[in-house]
Structures are given as structure tokens and as C-alpha cells.
Symmetry: C2
Subunit: 105 residues, 2 copies
């Protein structure tokens, strides 16, 4: 029984640390994040910080290594979502000022 627990634990550790990598690669490649949830990745970053601290408190490398990797991935994705959001807002602002100027002329 213990062996099963060990194997599943290591498998779960591997999928946990790699899970976000495909999303990171997709966001870096496409630069697109419209359908990715900002709130989810704020939760995700918080979640992985908590599990990392928990891993250190429990002195479990399995937990804190997986969660440092997952934290890094989610922080990169969150960065892209925020960057795209700011960019979109600026474009809207420029668009509005152009409209106002056109009305003025």
C-alpha cells in the first residue's frame, strides 16, 4: 500500500509541476489571453505560494519544488494577462481621444 502511495505521490508531483507549462508556452507563442481568467491566475499564484510555504513548514521537497515550478508558470501567465489588459485599456483610451478630436474638428 505504501508503494502505491509513493508512486501516485510522485506522479501527482510531476503533473502538478508540469501542468501549467503548456499554457505558458501557448501564451508566449500566441501573446493571446482573452479567454484566460485573470481571477483564476490571481488565485493560482496565491495558491502556489501557500503550498510552497506549507511544503517548507512540512519539510517536504516534493511539495515545495512542485509548487515553486507551478508558481513560476502561473506568475508568467498572470504577467501576460495584466500586460494585455493594460495594453487594451491604452488602445481604448487612444481610440476615445481620436473620436473626441474628430468631433472637435
Amino acid at each position: 500500500m505504501n508503494l502505491a502511495k509513493e508512486i501516485i505521490g510522485w506522479l501527482a508531483f510531476t503533473t502538478s509541476s508540469l501542468m501549467l507549462v503548456p499554457q505558458v508556452l501557448k501564451v508566449i507563442k500566441t501573446k493571446k489571453t482573452e479567454s484566460v481568467s485573470l481571477v483564476m491566475f490571481i488565485f493560482a499564484v496565491t495558491n502556489y505560494i501557500l503550498w510552497t510555504v506549507y511544503g517548507f513548514l512540512k519539510n517536504s521537497p516534493q511539495i515545495y519544488i512542485a509548487n515553486i515550478l507551478a508558481f513560476t508558470s502561473s506568475a508568467i501567465i498572470l504577467g501576460y494577462i495584466i500586460y494585455n489588459g493594460v495594453k487594451k485599456r491604452k488602445e481604448k483610451q487612444i481610440h476615445k481621444t481620436k473620436e473626441v478630436n474628430n468631433l472637435g474638428n
Copy 2:
């Protein structure tokens, strides 16, 4: 020290089980999944199944409850990604047959 571990453990449990909910709500609302990674959610579903089994083997409700919730959320998102992928392929197919027919006329 144990109290800190307990508190952080419960906080991490909460963010783990709720983390995917904003993405589920966004996908259900917008029906859009272009920038969401299919491979990530295949990993995620696998990941949460593994952690759920691990939680049962360790007899830890904290682990298996959080991961059953996260499994449900990731399965819903994966369903939408696959549904949208199939729909897109069908539309492409229809578009192609129309083009071929037009060439034929």
C-alpha cells in the same frame, strides 16, 4: 509551528479547490476557449485524479475533497475546449466543401 501549518494547509486547501472556478465561469459565460491550452487541461484532469487517489490512500479529506472539486472544474473546462475544437473543425469542413462546390460550378 503546528498551528501555522494547520492554517496555511486549510488556506491552501481553499485556494486549490476554488482556483479553477473563475475560469469555469468565464468559459461558460463567453463560450470562448481559444487562448486556453487543451494540453494543460488534459494534464490538469490527470493531476487532480492522481491527487484524489493519493488523498484517499492517505485518508486525508483535505486532499481528496479539494481535488474532487478541482477535478470537476477542470473536466468542465476540458469539455468546452474539446467541444469548441470539434465545432471549429466541422465549420472548416463545411467551408472547404462549399469552396469545392463553387469551383465545380
